[in-house]
Subunit: 295 residues, 2 copies
Amino acid sequence: MSELRDILALRAEAVTRRLDVLLTSAAGSRGRVIAAMRYSALAGGKRLRPFLVMESASLFDVDPEHALQCAAAVEMIHCYSLIHDDLPAMDDSDLRRGRATAHKEFDEATAILAGDGLLTEAFAVLAAPQSHPDPAVRVELIAGLAEASGAAGMVGGQMIDIAPDRDALDLPGITNLQALKTGALITFSCEAGAILGRAKDSERQALRSYARDLGLAFQIVDDLLDSESTPEELGKPTGQDAAAGKATFVGILGIEGARGKARDLVKSACAHLAIFSQKAKLLEATAQFVLDRKT
Amino acid sequence: MSELRDILALRAEAVTRRLDVLLTSAAGSRGRVIAAMRYSALAGGKRLRPFLVMESASLFDVDPEHALQCAAAVEMIHCYSLIHDDLPAMDDSDLRRGRATAHKEFDEATAILAGDGLLTEAFAVLAAPQSHPDPAVRVELIAGLAEASGAAGMVGGQMIDIAPDRDALDLPGITNLQALKTGALITFSCEAGAILGRAKDSERQALRSYARDLGLAFQIVDDLLDSESTPEELGKPTGQDAAAGKATFVGILGIEGARGKARDLVKSACAHLAIFSQKAKLLEATAQFVLDRKT
């Protein structure tokens, strides 16, 4: 477990360094939007999605340089979604990863543009030969990322999350919300490794199933942390969902029920990795890490 | 000229029909963001950028189906940029294409998400085989569109446009602003035809030069219309830039100076088309149309 934490930290650093290179500073007024993109993208975080890209790619002996490039693109999408979700018109959050949110540090217009810029840049990164020499692979990555991020994925999930009937969602409802809002990008992160490695359909499907269970477990643990942690521990506001009367996994299943469900999902996630045997042991450890994490 | 207007209208209808097919309605809360995407994308407008894609593609006998698909993707980017530019944190506009802006018709959060959704969907459309059978061509289109739309293009231009020192820009400054904010996407629109048609470098460069002059003329005419038209004529607010003390081409060059500059640019734009001879006569007429337009 501590070995995994070390590897996660090393990979996170590599992703941050790559993002630092990809998001080149500029002078003049235009530099302001790039500064905001860098502020949000280089702020740290667990870098779980990039880790999943790199680790799933390693199952198929993908060139780590290609995996890192693809991982950076996925993280750009994640960071853009955080910037826009935090906006006053959405969740109106002041704190993210222990720092002021982008619209607090800069201003609202700059934050909107920084999100737009990161979203756009993610596709530029995948379109460049550095992500894979074969254009057919690059275009498959782009199609997958766009589907996971758009109205049938993350954007659609955020729309459900802020809808007036959000509070009254039942278990299938919040499961669907999670599958779109956070699950789709987590699933793509794992699938990206299979695309980069031109994996067999059965291997790709195994990674999708692993990611689906992992993503849901991740969200349930998020709800548990939100109900049991302080803002200082998490680096972002806590208890807001429950206070706003929003349906959560913890609200519907109870603390013990939610914890049990997360445990079952992690067990199921790991079972899907059986076909990869020893090669997937870090992905297994990651599922356990998602269950045990405190932030 | 009236022949061109008829062709423009026909092409605009084809683009709207294609957008209608590509942006499939959905039920439930998620349907709201798609409704907002459709509200903005199907609202009409001149569809100049899609026309430029289709017309430049026709120079190289590109399959019109591929050109139309690519044209729809470009229009999605244009529509997303209008939604986000109109937001309260940006230009705070209530009126667009003669109707309520997206955040007025829906709400601010939905408008932000609808913009994000259209931006993402544009790349999904280009990544699909319908835009071209060769993945290498698709990936080149995606790279070009991302560059034109991102922080080195449209997003960067909008940042400059809302910066505190915007009012004091000189002629090179507003020319650079225009080149990024509107010029980059107009240039890509013309270049897309060359990419789809695997044109020679000299042909691609000729289209870029045509587009650069056309785009600048377009913006100068925009400034002229803004200073001389009513909101009823344009379907959006007018005179705001001058009232806000913003530097404009008309402000710096005067009405006659601006008109003369636009005329010179249109002449120069058409000169770049000489290598295509008769095949480019609609692109020539388009340049004249941009100069003479009243909306």
